[in-house]
Amino acid sequence: MAFLDNSGDIILDAVLTDTGRFRLAKGDGSFKIAKFALGDDEIDYTQYDKNNASGSAYYDLTIMQTPVLEAFTNNASSMISKLVTMSRNNLMYLPIIKLNEESPNNQTTGIVAGFGSNFFYVAVDQNTENEVANGTWTSGVISGQTLTQPVCVLLEQGLDTMEIPPNVALDVDLVEDQYILEMDNRFGKPAKKDGKISIASPSFIDDDNIASYYFSLAQTPGYVTNEWPTKVQGTETQNINAARIRGPRGTQFYFRIASSIDLATSTYLFEKLGGTTSLDFGGGGGAQTYYFIDSNVRVIGGTTGFTLDIPFRYIKLQPS
């Protein structure tokens, strides 16, 4: 997309997204605009120079000169960072969502020797799971077919600051009680962290096969919790240290990924969207060749709008 002409009056360049056109074409009344949000995707707030010696008029000079791109029609590409309405203006801190890799069950492969690249792997079929299980089950690998392994993704929400101790309660209006998870529906679905196979149902799937799931403290307690574990690694002290949110805490969001039937039973999507790689999970048989697809899962705070993309690599053992 080109930049918009900003030499004259402020103009608004409005387009329907592909999902908007899709719903309009369906003609079933699903095209109904009911709310709006404001976004600031292009803005880099690190350019805000609040100490500029020339005065406050110069604080945002660079930001105000930011060129703005034309509107994207892909619904998943726009409005990634939104403006937020808060009930008060005297806030100095805002909560974030952060990936916790402290426990082996929540680690990405990036901190596992020999696996580099901070992925969560998803073993998509039984053969792949068996190959991984030949050694010690590797942290960061989700058993996408059987969901028998405890590896899951843990996201924490709160104030990630050392300046406020973690035992101070997070203000109620800053607690995130709803998470939206967006992922490619062709690859899998989110599942609960516990041993039982419980797979979530999408709220809707858009024209690009991106499925949206809603999880909330009240409706889906298996995924969202505000009861932080009293003992992660044995003692209360360790618990506080184990949390990646360093200040006041809001909620936690756990999930795993159950692989889709397409990935489990076919190599079509791997050949079309991915490639092959060699991995050694320590089973004694040496490195094996795996098909892989790299993709992201996006988690959005339903209340605060904070967005986090988590990289996943779906792997499938290539038959020898």
Binding site: A14, L16, Y45, V68, L69, A71, L83, S87, M92
Partner: protein, 406 residues
């Protein structure tokens, strides 16, 4: 409570209808000359002219039609009704010429009340009486040009009537004498008794005379048209984008050519309709085509494509304004002083601390670059981008007017 959405109420949404006009100029050089490979291609073989094996019309493009860049601009054809004196089973493509007339008359004029008889085109729009247009050219403009309708009162077609005929593409003088055909009264008066919407009467006036001293002299019946007068020569259907041009524009006011045949009187002075005037395709009487008179009478022994080519080469220019009905919904996105002052942008925070503040009592600041319109289930249905960032703080309120066109 934090939130990123704001609901739109009925007071925030309104609908409007706007008529958008575009000027459409079609120069004669596109229709004849530009794409004849320096006159090496014969009439009708130009690269922007598409003909068909059925021979019922030809299509004109603005660029060689085999190119994907070419746009179809209009079609040309002609025909005569069953009541025309020109109709004869010995004519070339006689059935097709009748069928074309009947087809378009059926669509554009309709049927006689209570019967299946197709009404002929009427010169002044009074279907019950008056002069009927029994022989005509049809110019069918593509929807790309005509859009929703041709703007009333904006149509203009200029035809070269210089004698003798010589191709303008070869430096000839065909356009030195011209007549201009317009829907002059269309903006104030038009007819609504067609089954396909509104139509106006096309009138001809003389415009340029660099040829014969006393031409163009136009006639209506036995009366000479004096300056300021005009003569009805066709109909323009605004919504369907079809111009019906009477064959009389190329006929002699005498209605007879050197005793060859008697036809309906035309609008041109007889002197313009000498055997050498309209060129080979509109022809004069000659041994090879003994039944041809001047002008439109040539249709009897020429194919539709041939006559279309002849007319096309006499078009000096065509211009009109089209109209697009733009239905819009306007969403007034109102950000009050206490709305949207914070951001979820990753760069907004440093260790959860707001970058744009020094102390908590500082006013928060955010910058708007986009507006997203959402469904009740939070799907992004439309997005609007601002041309530059807009500062939002508790000291400001914004109303962003987002217009979606359908």
């Amino acid at each position: 409570m934090a939130t990123v959405f704001k609901n739109l109420t009925n007071n925030d949404i309104t609908t409007t209808r706007t008529l958008l006009h575009e000027a459409i100029p079609i120069t004669g050089s596109i229709l004849s000359g530009t794409y004849n490979n320096n006159s090496t291609l014969a009439l009708g073989s130009e690269t922007n002219i598409k003909t068909y094996s059925h021979g019922m019309f030809e299509s004109i493009y603005d660029y060689p039609y085999l190119s994907s860049s070419a746009n179809h601009i209009f079609d040309m054809t002609m025909g005569y009704g069953t009541g025309s004196a020109l109709s004869s089973s010995s004519n070339t493509q006689n059935t097709k010429k009748i069928n074309l007339y009947q087809q378009l008359a059926q669509v554009l004029v309709g049927f006689t009340t209570g019967s299946s008889d197709i009404r002929p085109f009427d010169e002044n729009g009074d279907l019950t009486e008056g002069t009927k247009i029994k022989e005509c050219f049809f110019l069918n403009f593509s929807r790309l040009l005509g859009k929703d309708e041709i703007k009333k009162g904006s149509f203009s077609l200029e035809l070269g009537v210089q004698a003798p005929w010589s191709s303008a593409a070869d430096g000839g003088t065909v356009f030195n004498t011209r007549i201009k055909i317009t829907d002059a009264s269309g903006s104030t008066g038009y007819k609504v008794n067609s089954p396909v919407g509104e139509y106006g009467i096309l009138y001809a006036t003389g415009t340029v005379n660099q040829g014969v001293a006393d031409v163009p002299v136009l006639w209506t019946g036995s009366a000479e048209i004096v300056e300021g007068q005009k003569v009805a020569v066709g109909l323009l259907y605004y919504q369907t984008g079809i111009a019906v041009l009477s064959g009389s524009v190329f006929n002699s006011n005498q209605g007879t050519i050197a005793g060859v045949m008697s036809t309906s009187p035309g609008i041109l002075d007889d002197i313009l309709c000498s055997s050498s005037f309209l060129g080979s395709n509109f022809g004069g009487p000659d041994a090879a085509r003994p039944t041809q008179g001047s002008g439109f009478n040539a249709i009897t022994q020429s194919s539709i494509d041939t006559i279309s080519d002849a007319l096309r080469n006499r078009i000096y220019n065509i211009s009109f304004n089209n109209t697009t009905e733009l239905n819009s919904t306007i969403y007034f996105c109102r950000a009050n002083h206490n709305d949207f002052n914070f951001s979820a942008n990753p760069t907004y925070l440093s260790s959860s601390k707001i970058r744009v503040k020094n102390v908590s009592t500082d006013a928060p600041v955010s910058y708007v670059t986009s507006v997203g319109l959402y469904s009740p289930d939070n799907e992004l249905l439309a997005v609007a981008k601002l041309s530059e960032p807009l500062k939002k703080s508790p000291e400001t309120e914004l109303t962003l007017r987002v217009r979606l066109d359908y």
